[in-house]
């Protein structure tokens, strides 16, 4: 067990993956000498050489398309997309090629490609540097989509993603790169496809992933002080969603709050709300509530606090599903 930041845990996970399997190669912009703009690949090129850690020309379709060819050849490419908002030039290669080649070839060709995407806001960045594009990929058949929220998961899940024979979109909560935690080489063994119950609770089920997991835990702590018991679930896998623990939780609590930074319409929260309503209709005491980014582009930094879900908005939603107050209809808290 070592204490390290989430970013360092990714670095050490990548290092392990490179050491364990010489078919693993890293591709991306500025991942070599610079070690990536977030230093997640720091020193890996020095250690494994420029054939394993490859600085590519500046073109995302090129990176992903080259990775497809490498995968055809038996490699396990790990592509870094420098920031969330730069994934779109590679969208066609991801959606039409990476996602579909296994199906297209009826299993003959595997696409064990991992696409690492530092995502989300809260770092005061300029446009295109704070987006949450995960729903596009969760709606795309053939991909697996996961997100980590702590150093241990970062380390274990990146290794698992690379070892997975299916393509994996790996969303890294960039504002949590500096979050510290204990990391051991043998994780608790929870597969990357599984959600994790972080705190048990009886009143409300609160589902989060990536950067908002710490926020959700804060909300649970704050609510506990007010006597509300919240079960926080870290989704971890956004596609497929591991519904079993969420169903079990909602059958217990009767109330669901979901949070993400991405726009509300058509986000992961929509799928969760719809699917949990299908599965737990008769257990629900209130409609699932979504606390999300708005249906706007990610705003300039001066407005990001207004845009991002935070502790207060989560507690407001908890109050709402508890029937306590309803900011939506103007019924104010009596406090």
């Amino acid at each position: 067990m070592t204490e390290m930041t989430l970013g360092a845990a990714l670095n050490s996970g990548l290092r392990r993956a490179l050491a364990d399997d010489d078919k693993v190669v890293l591709l991306g912009e500025d991942i070599g000498k610079l070690g990536g703009v977030f230093r997640v690949t720091d020193k890996l090129q020095e250690e494994f050489g420029p054939r394993r850690v490859i600085d590519t020309p500046l073109a995302e379709a090129g990176i992903i398309g080259t990775a497809v060819g490498l995968a055809y050849r038996g490699y396990r490419p790990v592509c870094e997309i420098q920031f969330d908002g730069f994934i779109y030039p590679g969208f066609d290669q991801i959606v039409a090629q990476v996602a579909k080649l296994h199906y297209r070839t009826r299993g003959a060709v595997k696409m064990p490609i991992t696409i690492r995407v530092p995502f989300g806001g809260g770092i005061g960045a300029v446009e295109h540097h704070s987006e949450s594009p995960e729903a596009y990929f969760a709606h795309t058949a053939g991909l697996r989509v996961i997100s980590c929220s702590n150093p241990q998961d970062a380390h274990s899940m990146i290794r698992e993603a690379i070892a997975c024979d299916d393509p994996v979109l790996f969303f890294e909560p960039k504002r949590r790169y500096w979050l510290k935690g204990e990391v051991s080489d043998d994780a608790d063994g929870l597969p990357m496809g599984n959600a994790r119950v972080l705190t048990e609770g009886s009143d409300v089920t609160l589902v989060a992933y990536g950067p908002l997991v710490p926020t959700a835990l804060d909300a649970a702590a704050a609510a506990a002080e007010d006597g509300t018991s919240i079960e926080v679930i870290d989704l971890r896998s956004l596609s497929p969603i591991d519904f079993a623990p969420i169903e079990a939780s909602v059958r217990k609590t009767g109330r669901l709050v979901i949070t993400h930074e991405a726009a509300q319409s058509g986000g992961i929260g929509a799928e969760l709300a719809a699917a949990i309503t299908e599965r737990c209709f008769f257990w629900l005491e209130a409609a699932p509530a979504r606390v999300t980014g708005f249906d706007t582009p990610y705003p300039p930094a001066a407005l990001e606090d207004a845009f991002l879900p935070d502790l207060d908005r989560l507690l407001d939603a908890v109050d709402r599903v508890m029937g306590r107050r309803n900011s939506l209809t103007g019924w104010k808290a009596s406090a």
């Binding site: 090129g62 398309g65 080259t66 055809y72 050849r73 038996g74 066609d92 080649l101 060709v109 969603i241």
Partner: protein, 387 residues
């Protein structure tokens, strides 16, 4: 003062480095490599001849047979489409020399990344007929197992495969083998970002890849002049990739050019771009109606440059293609067509509905498993309701 003199026009048709064009390509028209003229005459080309010096008359006859066969495959597939046995077909008519000349230059450990029209290339790789047609029949999303014949599943998204070829070639290089990746694509494809990015990546990595562009003059209804203001082969050098422009209706010239490019790639010389100038004599696909856009006379003009006719003339002139041999070749083609038709109609038209869920992922997937079992239950309930 004219600005033309002050800027680097670079835009004239370039000639090879060193020597006058005539020295190198005596047989060429408009800076194009040609070894067999439309009238069947064999023209000398000091630069290219050595690369096909080992090609015997017997070999030429083999190429001839290949072309006859793939044209027959094409005709038969078009017929199958008209008869409702195929949903669609993209004819290669006219492009036989470009595909056979290049395809036959490859080794089995080379790897092809093609577009949807390379049936001739697939034939040279040994694709089975059922696998050639199941995509067009709508039975499966694609045909052959890529690893069994060294040819990727054709790409329908224009240009996407050029990047795959580049990545594969990079893998070959890193593996230390001298296999080569070959990307086939059309003239229209050269406008796509992917194709240009592939050139950037290939040049940067010095990847052993051949960019083989069949310039068949059309992208559906759009003439090549809409996509490119210069010869397509003029594009690659600016990326640092040497290029050749060959008569794509001349199977020998195509063979020679492909061998040159393969040799360079195998020896660590990196990528090469080949523009094979040819013509799509048929419609874009069986759904297309070229009458809406093809200028009158154009088809006739190109028919006079037919790739099969010219090799036939050469071989007749040499006494290799006798009437007997011609009959044998035709019989072979007919046999292939017969076999292909049989393979076509044997393809399952009504697969088990539940197979729609198969092979989306290589491992278990909770979401799909649920959808599959619910769908199975639904289908079973229909049976129940109908019983």
């Amino acid at each position: 003062m004219s600005d033309v003199s002050t800027t680097h026009e670079h835009t004239r048709t370039s000639s090879p480095a060193g020597g006058s064009p005539e020295d190198l390509h005596p047989g060429q028209l408009e800076d194009i490599v040609q070894l067999i003229c439309p009238d069947g005459a064999r023209t000398a080309s000091p630069g290219f001849d050595p690369w096909v010096a080992d090609v015997t008359d017997e070999d030429l006859l083999g190429l001839y047979e290949d072309m006859i066969v793939v044209r027959r495959i094409d005709t038969e597939a078009t017929a199958l489409q008209r008869q409702g046995e195929l949903a669609l077909w993209a004819p290669l008519l006219g492009q036989e020399a470009a595909q056979i000349g290049s395809g036959r230059a490859l080794r089995s450990d080379d790897f092809v990344f093609s577009s949807y029209r390379e049936h001739g290339v697939a034939y040279t790789r040994g694709a089975r007929f059922g696998d050639l047609l199941s995509f067009w029949r709508g039975t499966t999303a694609s045909g052959w197992d890529p690893y069994s014949i060294g040819m990727a599943t054709p790409a329908v998204i224009i240009g996407a495969q050029t990047l795959h070829a580049t990545g594969y070639a990079l893998g070959c290089k890193h593996d230390g083998v001298d296999s080569v990746a070959v990307a086939y694509f059309g003239d229209g494809a050269t406008s796509q970002g992917d194709v240009n990015e592939a050139m950037v990546f290939a040049a940067s990595f010095q990847a052993p890849v051949i960019f083989f562009c069949q310039n068949n003059q059309w992208a559906i209804s759009e003439p090549v002049g809409l996509q490119a203001q210069r010869h397509i082969s003029d594009r690659a050098p600016g990326f640092g990739i040497p290029s050749m422009r060959v008569d794509g209706n001349d199977v020998l010239a195509v063979l020679a050019a492909t061998r040159i490019a393969l040799d360079r790639a195998r020896r660590g010389g990196g990528p090469t771009f080949i523009e094979a100038v040819t013509y799509r004599m048929g419609p874009h696909t069986t759904s297309d109606d070229p009458k809406r856009y093809r200028p009158t006379g154009e088809l006739d003009e190109w028919a006079a440059k037919d790739p099969i006719t010219r090799l036939g003339r050469l071989l007749e002139g040499r006494g290799v293609l006798t009437e007997d041999v011609a009959t044998r070749v035709q019989q072979k083609a007919d046999a292939v067509a017969y076999e292909m038709r049989a393979a076509c109609v044997a393809l399952e038209r009504h697969p088990d509905p539940l197979t729609v869920f198969d092979q989306v992922y290589s491992g278990p997937h909770s979401g799909l498993e649920r959808q599959k079992s619910q769908y199975a239950a639904y289908l079973a309930s229909l049976d129940g309701a109908q019983s």
